[in-house]
Symmetry: C2
Subunit: 103 residues, 2 copies
Amino acid sequence: MNKEFTPYYAVIFTSKQSANLEGYQKTSERMEKLVKNQVGFLGMDTAKSDIGITVSYWDSLESIKNWKQNLEHQIAQKSGKEKWYTNYKVRICEVLKEYSFNK
Amino acid sequence: MNKEFTPYYAVIFTSKQSANLEGYQKTSERMEKLVKNQVGFLGMDTAKSDIGITVSYWDSLESIKNWKQNLEHQIAQKSGKEKWYTNYKVRICEVLKEYSFNK
């Protein structure tokens, strides 16, 4: 669409939470703070109804990999599997084009 | 991740609703019904908090284009701009890989 468009990447995280949310809020806030300091992090959108959807945006696949391997984030991922989520799915995407509307 | 993985496409629609939601619910339900009959439609995830996020999945960019150009959908898009949304963003993505967790 836009000739100036620079390709970037999106990670779509869809999840279903379990009944055990012990420690979730605190960790979630900590991760949000951490991710904003990651090299290559461009932004994030999040919403929650029956399922939760969080989409984070990145400058490269390498930046996504670095965040996945961040030590504190790895501990959070472990707790997520053990306690907070009954299921989730992660999709790594390349954003090919975009357009927007603003009133 | 998976050697059998077939690349597919995701459309990430993030939106902020306006105060005028007249006709929104009915059209939303109609669009959900219509999209499920579109050739190449693979599924959809949706959640809503401060913003709404809807991600739809498709077999090809052509299928995404066909849905965008669907006549009834075009009328809905027009109402969306006129009434229901103060802003939105559409990102067309190629899903490069995915992984999931199920308890």
